[in-house]
């Protein structure tokens, strides 16, 4: 018997499949279920080939056996609209829900910023903000842990090919949820998020700009050090998280220019925006798993 915590992935699309590939390398997570709604889904077929149990009946198809299958952690890689129902159902079966949609019904989790707090709070639902949030909020926090940030703004530019139909249909949820994450996790008094979709070929690697306005004149040395430290933290789970330029200081403005290249597991390398989401989701699950394995946390129906 392996000492891994069993997990289910809901949503066999690009994100769910990439997450599956990453989870298979994990020392503490063992993916055992892939849940979809379309029997023709190539993602379900792929998961079945890899030895997972699958269903095309949605979460309901897994519920009857998920307890006996030992599922203690679920990932939701579907959409904000169905997330609340999915979460309620798996929570009832005593599994923690890690939300990769922008539904944001649980507390936000940005691993290098507040993962320990999120896990310590033993929340049964944690939300991974948005891809742009995962890529930028650590840097807002890197500035705000040095000194007061009155305003934090991020610009996420993603390739057209990496912006899926869910993001496109609900682009406002992206901007709202990211802005809120900049405030709640990033520590800025006011947050603003902008997303740009660029169709250039070959597809551009995700790029992110973080602008902070500090209350007092920025302590350049301390902020620069804090930013470099934070980047090293993120690189532990996203090696392609790269500082391109900055921090640039201009009066009270601090600007940081980043590029995020993915690992290229299932998603192409340019889709760093999706990669950082799956990597952060898995990182969060692993922390939960470690707590469970250490006997410090036993997820239970609320």
């Amino acid at each position: 018997m392996s000492n891994k915590i069993k997990a289910a992935i809901i949503g066999p699309g690009n994100i769910g499949t990439d997450l599956l590939m990453k989870a298979q390398r994990s020392d503490v997570i063992e993916p055992v279920w892939m849940v979809g709604v379309d029997p023709e889904s190539p993602g379900l077929a792929r998961a079945a080939e890899m030895g997972l149990k699958t269903t095309a009946e949605g979460v309901d198809g897994m519920l009857p056996t998920m307890r006996e299958d030992g599922v203690q952690i679920c990932f939701d890689a579907t959409s904000a609209y169905v997330h609340a129902e999915n979460s309620r159902k798996v929570n009832e079966q005593g599994a923690v829900m890690i939300d990769l949609t922008p539904a944001a019904i649980g507390p936000f989790c940005v691993p290098p910023v507040n993962l320990a707090d999120a896990v310590a709070a033993k929340a049964m639902n944690v939300n991974m903000v948005t891809c742009g949030g995962q890529a930028t909020i650590p840097l807002v926090a890197a500035v705000s842990r040095v000194q007061d940030v009155t305003y934090g703004e991020i610009v996420a530019t993603v390739s057209s090919k990496s912006a899926g139909p869910g993001t496109r249909k609900n682009i406002d949820e992206f901007t709202r949820t990211t802005a809120k994450g900049i405030e709640v996790c990033g520590g800025a008094h006011t947050g603003k998020a902008i997303i740009i979709i660029n169709p250039a070929e070959p597809p551009l690697i995700m790029r992110d700009t973080v602008h902070c306005l500090t209350h007092d004149d920025p302590d350049q040395e301390a902020i620069t050090q804090s930013v470099h430290d934070m980047i090293a933290e993120v690189q532990k789970y996203v090696p392609g998280y790269t500082l391109k330029n900055g921090p640039v200081f201009d009066g009270k403005r601090v600007s940081i220019y980043m590029e995020v290249e993915g690992l290229g597991d299932f998603l192409p390398k340019y889709a760093g925006n999706l990669d950082i989401m799956t990597a952060a989701g898995l990182r969060t699950a692993e922390m939960y798993a470690e707590e469970i394995l250490a006997g410090k946390f036993s997820p239970a129906a609320a």
């Binding site: 530019t157 496109r168 902008i194 660029n198 250039a200 602008h211 391109k244 330029n245 900055g246 220019y257």
Partner: protein, 348 residues
């Protein structure tokens, strides 16, 4: 292009002034509420039927990235809308920057037209906003495809149709880079006119970077467009928009009916707009480069500033932005790119 006064004589079109939105770019978004009211009143009096009032980058554009404006969109719109006797007010919204919350706020302020703008290949991000706008009674709902020179007319048509399907009663072909020549405009507008629903209006928004604003707009009208954007004295991004007073005078000569008093339009341009300019909005070397290299017009001042800060040529920066096929809204790329170029060339 074969045009004659006879073909277009008596054709009625709607002109749409951009001074108080696109004109925010050369003013670095610092037009005051009072200036907006003064200019809008004069245009109302001159018979301009539609006037856009918003941050240069649309509702919610107030940001480090694009610039913080002198007043909020809400303050501008509230002040201007209540002063209008015949003119209607429009607002611009770029999904990814503004949200439907901003849209509702603008409607509450009294706008009659909302224009939802996306890059020419990304119309599907406008679904939330166009659908919402189309559900509001009497709200003129417009889709606006930017940088339309970057794709072929057939590809553009697919995107225009998508906006029509989401509920737009008017769709725009937008030459954000001022790159198009009259034949490019004719090909795009004519195909759209032939394939879209007959009741869907077609608009053209030009920039004057190659000096083609007026000629392109006339080509658009000849090919079936009936809404034309311009701005008095050309106050707009890059070398400015199609100079509206010039376009109106040309329409007069051709018998195209705009409903605007030509002399009053000239006076607004000369007496109100030109004195407001922080720098002469004209086809200088950098603005010409925008049109020549196909670069988003509002990048102009950002490139000039970064060039000065990092000892580079603004033209080099703009050409490189064009080569990388940057799209509208990527202002954050300019300082990043300038830093790369400066490191490479040892200028910092």
């Amino acid at each position: 292009m074969r045009l004659s006064n006879v073909e277009l004589k008596g054709k009625k079109i709607t002109v749409h002034d951009m001074c108080l939105r696109d004109g925010m770019h050369p003013k670095q978004h610092q037009i005051t509420v009072n200036e907006m009211v003064t200019v809008a009143r004069a245009m109302d009096e001159a018979g301009v039927p539609l006037i856009e009032v918003t941050h240069g980058d649309g509702l919610g554009g107030a940001s480090v990235n694009y610039g913080f404006p002198a007043a909020s969109d809400e303050d501008y719109l509230t002040a201007v809308c209540k002063e209008m006797k015949q003119a209607k007010i429009s607002a611009l919204l770029l999904p990814g920057i503004g949200t439907v919350d901003h849209l509702k706020m603008a409607v509450d302020c009294g706008i009659s037209t909302i224009r939802v703008a996306t890059h020419c290949t990304e119309a599907d991000v406008s679904e939330q906003h166009l659908t919402m706008a189309a559900s509001i009674d009497h709200l003129d709902t417009v889709g606006f495809l930017m940088m339309a020179h970057m794709i072929e007319p057939e590809e553009l048509l697919v995107q225009l149709k998508m906006m029509e399907d989401f509920g737009a009663n008017c769709v725009y072909i937008t030459d954000s880079a001022g790159y198009m020549l009259p034949d490019d405009v004719t090909a795009r507008v004519a195909l759209a006119r032939a394939e879209l629903k007959p009741e869907t209006e077609i608009g053209f928004h030009g920039h004057h970077n190659l000096g083609m604003g007026v000629a392109n707009s006339i080509a658009a009208v000849a090919a079936g467009a009936n809404r034309i954007d311009g701005s008095m004295a050309g106050l707009g991004a890059g070398a400015g928009n199609t100079p509206l007073e010039v376009f109106i005078a040309v329409c007069d000569r051709m018998g195209i009916e705009t409903g605007v008093d030509t002399f009053k339009a000239m006076d607004i341009a000369e007496d109100l707009i030109v004195p407001m300019m922080d720098h002469m909005v004209r086809i200088d070397r950098d603005a010409l480069t925008l049109g020549y290299a196909g670069v988003y017009s509002s990048f102009l001042l950002f490139a000039k500033r970064s060039a000065e800060k990092y000892n580079l040529s603004s033209r080099d920066i703009l050409v490189e932005l064009g080569r990388r096929r940057t799209v509208g809204g990527q202002e954050d790329m300019i300082e990043d790119l300038a830093l790369d170029m400066a490191k490479e060339r040892g200028t910092i």
